[in-house]
Subunit: 251 residues, 4 copies
């Protein structure tokens, strides 16, 4: 009886009515709050002013997510596929169960390591909890379908982009390496400039200084417009199709 | 009789003929002139050369807008919904009446405060008068409708953008914090770099310097193209639909 | 008889066959060569190495264009509208005749002035000869028509862009003026930053340094994506319509 | 018999089944590996740690590509067009045979020159091997067709872009040359700034400093949005058409 109630409250497919169950709504809020706290904690000046609060909150969040994880594991038995010990083990390796595990694992891994970089990485991993929100959204299927239908064309434009990236950095390496060995001394080094230019980000920390380098850079920048126009055009066409198919039965 | 004339001249729905009534056209011009003067006044070198002119003009504009506000309040009685004292009070809390109030309020608030920042903010608020022009435009409904019809998909792409923003700043915090504590020392700090990169603005005041940081930055910059392509594609599809529906009855 | 031959060779509507007449093709080549020479001449190091060549070429180009102008004026008599002295005077004030005049006028104006800036401006005006090419292209009507059909929506998005520009520079003036009086000390000064950010150009010569300024700057940068997405979406929809109408009769 | 087997394995049109023949798959992998090695070799710190490995690998790759080239030349005889000595000579001048030659030629040219720049250029030319992959892709026809169908409109927008580029750099030369002779001292010099602004890359290494220069720069930046919107809109419309035609027979 308890298991049935838990299942209805926790499993999105167990909730008959429209929207999310009250418990899942609470979980969503909890994920957002925990992520917000995790972001704030990385700022030393904020954490140092309330050192106990952040440690306490993290313990609280992990405790709540652990309880939620165990409850989900227990409630999974309602589904015939995950009945018994073997079923539960099978459930633990489903996609969303693994994602749920990510919400609590970094905390326990934090006891093992004392390396500053690893601790930072674990803090960042807490933000991956946000991906748990995906479980509750049955909605983005329309966009995902439109993307999927043109996956092939999108991949092709990514391939063209990659080729452009390599060729432009190769040419700038050839003409600029003598003038700026630090920034353009090899193709991998020139890639940093190349990606900033082709995506039209243009930091300006590295720019060609020779006349020939500027010529190739100009061609790269113009090619960058095509690079943006191509996926945009493909997506626009894909969404246009998707919307028309969606609207068609309504009329 | 006066009230009826005022109503016809002031209320956009009171004017039967095409376009705006003469009085409303004058109000539009006044709003534009007042905004232009407000912009010029913020430049010290211009204001100091004509100190009296700017003070005088502002008093004049506020006086005119106040008269207009009172006239609108009086004329609102023509509409059965806003008759009597209670109706007028109700009118004062309608959307456009509140917007109209913004045109005169900053002036009077300016007498209360002497804080430089507050005075600057009040000057800026004068520019909000421009939003009053929205009252006179029945036109942008076509665009607004197209946006509304795809609001859900647009919000979703905003959500994806927000997630990308957080994840990219989190990863750059993890790999760059040691090398540049001032710029990437926390997730909120890294956000500034992240937003400049994902929107392809790319100021270049903050750039990663470690190899790993550049790798993640490159991935972020490429993701930024997708970030631009997605809403553009959705809007293109939405406008395409809207134009086709609009043109259909004409054929 | 001469006048008729000239008319056939010079007036695009006088040439019966497909494409351009031999004389007009020559004129096109001449315009391109003259523009290329004009660009090179601005570079001092190139001009100083061949001082006589550039002066001589310019005299040659102006002589040729003058002859062409007079020939066109003479041949215009073939058209019943431009017959006689009065007709010729009327022809001189048609759009393309005025554009043709721009090709030769800067040369003669160059004798009047000795101001360095004016001489530079006249050199630049030589490039306006390129606009004469428009006379020979009957082709861009398809694109122009698509743009025209959605002119209203495009203007509206320009209006929204202008409003965004003013509001973002106003807010940055309010929060950054104290920290950077030189760059954000007034709304017109802040406009330079604002336009660089909203168009996602992002030079990085001026960036906000206060936390509040960065927050507003981030919002501006995100709004910049919408600013790009909106006209792109409108144009995509307009071209899509235009192409479909063009293809429809063929099927 | 050997020739027939080779033909089936090497010529894409000789392979009956779906996809690529095993030998061609191997060639694809080889091209990717050789390109990756060529990229790494340009980085001195990597090459110096394994000097023999890179020289050896390059010899190996060239040997393999040479064998492949000769095998293709031999197998070409299966095609009636390329039979006999004359046919083989004709084959050697087909597009793809020339592209294949590029894969091996730089190696042999490397023995002739000792100029650092030429050696770098030859290293970069190795990356052109990647273009050989195009031979194996029958797929990008859909995109290429969509591009081709609107080639005229795309070229026109390139022409408009070129005109904008010239005009904006000409105007900035006129107003900024006095203040920044090094960066804006001639139209070709101003082009570097102009291309960075119109493509919205915006490095920020060169920015106008005069008020008039900033005004023109702002107009250029806004025009840059149109420059991006136009090809994007054309491509979106072209892809939309292409996808609809492709989907039509399926329904």
């Amino acid at each position: 009886m308890l298991r049935q109630t838990l299942y209805r409250q926790l499993a999105p497919e167990g909730w008959q009515a429209y929207g999310l169950s009250p418990v899942n709504k609470l979980v969503c809020v909890l994920i957002l709050v925990a992520s917000f706290v995790a972001i704030l904690e990385t700022e030393d000046s904020i954490r140092d002013s309330l050192p106990w609060a952040f440690s306490g909150l993290e313990v609280l969040f992990v405790a709540l997510f652990s309880v939620e994880y165990l409850a989900r594991l227990y409630a999974a038995g309602e589904d015939p596929r995950y009945r018994g010990w073997r079923g539960r083990a099978r459930y633990m390796f489903t996609w969303w169960a693994l994602v749920d595990l990510i919400a609590i694992l970094p905390f326990f891994l934090g006891f093992i390591t004392h390396n500053t970089f690893m601790i930072r990485l674990l803090k960042v991993c807490r933000l991956l909890r946000l991906s748990r929100l995906g479980r509750f959204s049955r909605a983005w299927s329309a966009l995902a379908e439109a993307l999927n239908a043109r996956m092939y064309e999108l991949l092709l434009s990514v391939g063209v982009a990659g080729l452009l990236l390599l060729l432009s950095s190769a040419f700038l390496y050839a003409v600029e390496a003598a003038a700026q060995p630090e920034e353009f001394g090899s193709v991998p080094r020139a890639l940093w400039w190349s990606i900033a230019t082709l995506t039209t980000v243009g930091y300006g920390d590295v720019t060609p200084i020779t006349a020939l380098g500027k010529l190739f850079a100009g061609i790269t920048a113009v090619a960058g417009i095509g690079l943006i126009a191509m996926p945009t055009g493909i997506l626009a066409a894909a969404f246009s199709d998707a919307f028309q198919k969606k609207d068609a039965p309504e009329e």
